[in-house]
Symmetry: C2
Subunit: 428 residues, 2 copies
């Protein structure tokens, strides 16, 4: 496995480096960011950089908009919040130039990075690589303001929260880079949340598909859209820390740097399960003794979908008489109240005895591309939880994931047990 890493790493000639808000938190931290860039340059790597706003700045700007207390105009809000990245990109460029490293801040409209006109959640439509490649050819490092673009109407757009990850991957694709390095405040992607599982270990390599499941399960290291985009273009992403000193060692090609998110084919599998993810912010709704006739489920879930409520897990038990059922499903906790309203609003369209809600639930997921070729992963999960006396309230599965709904109080117990049983604990 080490040999394979070496092979990949030694070929990095052109990379995109992305630094998030925490990495750009203050002038001292931005200097550290400059150190990383300087190291890559000294190693002869062609580098384009994408930055987020300084930590807290986007919130400050959003507060300014909220203070105005007006019906929001998303185009103007974009013009306001995009200034955070404009400032941070120019500050980093200032610092690099003062070290004698030629750099130039580049805003979305200067590239141009063309997007749809869906202000606040714009989609990237096209990136013209000419300007950026021209800077690289002239040995000037482009410092690109992440998160933002320009619409056909020549207005500033933003890509939505966390959009700088997506900017970085998209720029890497447009420049035909070898790799997109995402610098953040954690060491990489872990087998589980290290705050809960002290035995969690950093994953050296993970497939795009697994990363997508990890991200959507709450791993929050990378924005989901950026992983989808990287998967489409087969652009490897490396998640690594801005703050670990050994990142600065020259020619450090050890496979211990961060986590490489890459095509499944580049991963020599040695584990069936890659990680244990969890999600807390969900709520459960049970409709008891629901009259079971055709169209009832369509009515309920149709109305919820129309109101923008995302339903996750669904379990339906047929009752003894075959005419009534208990229907259980989960929604985001933030959608709970409106979901109950929607169900009550159905009135006579559905008949049931009682509608019960609960927030004291959590979802635990076992993730791994190895499941495709290994049977028994789900069975082992259910047995492990049963052994600990944890009741499973609902189950969903995909090709590379098994998720179960359990009582919130058992979450740490369940995760520790699963992390251990699938052989993910740190070996001493």
């Amino acid at each position: 496995m080490k040999e394979l890493n070496m092979m990949i790493e030694k070929n990095y000639k052109k990379i995109v480096m992305k630094f998030g808000g925490t990495s750009m938190g203050d002038i001292e931290k931005i200097s550290k960011v400059a150190d990383h860039i300087q190291r890559e340059r000294d190693n002869g790597v062609q580098t384009a950089v994408v930055v987020s706003a300084m930590a807290g700045e986007t919130d400050r700007l959003i507060n300014l908009v909220n203070e105005a207390n007006v019906v929001s105009n998303k185009a103007e809000k974009d013009a306001i919040i995009s200034t955070g990245e404009q400032v941070s990109s120019a500050l980093l460029s200032l610092i690099l130039n003062s070290r004698g490293i030629r750099a130039e801040s580049v805003q979305g409209w200067q590239i141009p990075l063309e997007t749809s006109n869906m202000h606040g959640s714009a989609r990237i439509k096209n990136i013209n690589p000419q300007k950026l490649q021209g800077l690289l050819n002239n040995n000037i490092i482009p410092i690109i303001a992440g998160f933002q673009g320009v619409s056909e109407e020549n207005k500033i757009t933003t890509l939505g929260r966390g959009g700088s990850d997506t900017t970085a991957v998209a720029i890497a694709c447009a420049l035909n880079a070898d790799l997109c390095d995402i610098y953040t405040d954690v060491d990489g992607v872990f087998t589980s949340d290290p705050r809960i599982i002290t035995q969690a270990q950093k994953i050296d390599k993970i497939s795009f598909e697994e990363m997508l499941e990890m991200a959507s399960q709450g791993a929050k290291v990378l924005q989901t859209r950026s992983v989808e985009l990287a998967m489409s273009y087969n652009m490897p992403i490396r998640v690594r820390s801005t703050f670990i000193e050994n990142n600065f060692e020259k020619n450090d090609k050890s496979h211990n740097i961060g986590t490489l998110v890459t095509n499944e084919e580049n991963i020599v599998e040695d584990k069936v399960v890659s990680g244990i993810a969890y999600s807390r912010g969900e709520a459960k709704i049970t409709i008891q003794n629901l009259e079971d006739k055709p169209g009832v489920a369509a009515q309920i879930f149709g109305d919820l979908a129309d109101q923008g409520v995302n339903v996750d897990m669904i379990v339906q038990n047929i009752s003894a008489d075959g005419r009534h059922t208990d229907l259980t499903f989960t929604v985001q906790e933030t959608d709970l109240d409106s979901s109950i309203e929607i169900i009550e609003g159905l009135g006579d369209k559905i008949k049931y005895s009682k509608c019960i809600q609960s927030k004291d639930i959590a979802k635990v997921s076992v993730i791994g591309v190895g499941m495709r070729s290994h049977a028994g992963v789900a069975a082992q999960m259910f047995a492990t939880l049963a052994e600990k006396g944890i009741n499973i309230q609902a189950i969903t599965t995909s090709e590379i994931k098994v998720s179960v709904l359990i009582e919130l109080q058992y979450i740490e117990l369940a995760m520790r047990a699963l992390h251990s049983v699938y052989g993910l604990d740190i070996k001493h």
Copy 2:
């Protein structure tokens, strides 16, 4: 005179309104700015708006740059400080739109407002009026970020401190507007500084030339470049307050609104002197017993000019023997130390007994286009000062101005006496 005002004012069909940093200080104040814009719109006036950054914001951004403690890169500094106007313009647009008034923030690069590439003090080269006029034609109020433009290299530039006044006048010229209204935190231009002269009164009309003298003498109401530009294009400027309530009265066409800065021909003169200006921040240098031979003055003032020192007043007295002289001149107080160094650096090139410096001086100026046709203004000034026992240390004059250098301690006394003798005191 009132009749003339009415005539001019009733023709205002298209105006530019400019609001400075104090006017844009917080959300509440920006709402007041929106009231002014709404009033003009309700009166059927086509309006384009230019704004400064919220008070304090530009300083905050400059501090951020200073904190980085690097050799400054002026292009990147411009990218940083121009965000202040981007935020304020979008906030104002947000507030207008929420009132049902269609508005759109417009950045320098979106116009485009093309400038030279002298970052930090760029000159406006061209303004394409097409986009702005298109917005006006569609009944959308452009809210233009002042102070900034875009260079040929497609980089953001800034025009230097106070540049938003210049932006406003330039936009007014490009749009062929009838007037440029500069809203600020004072009621207009006064016959003298009201903090010193309680009898000072607001001037209803003043010529461009007088305004230039007033501005350069420390009146600081309008940026000098904006007045020069307005004079070149004969674009009337009105200086008025954002915060006076009667500004909100509909159809208030009284000539008491602010101060109109306009072409001399539009002013029916009834006063020879329009105002008394002063300047404190100067220093005096006297070189005693300077050997008086050809080329000495050229040597001294040439070296000072080469080092960027601006010499203002110069007085030279021939000594009794005809071979020595006392040379006295004034420079900005901030240039005093370097001026002394330059003179001492001349070494053997000039011979003199002593070089004396003094900061305890002030300059008082009497300004008025009426001087062109009225003799005796200077004589009356000298007589008035003599009567008060104030010694005149140096004199400079222009067609519409007489300035004298006096001891700093006499400044208020001199100003009050002159303000009174030229008939400028408020009539009760």
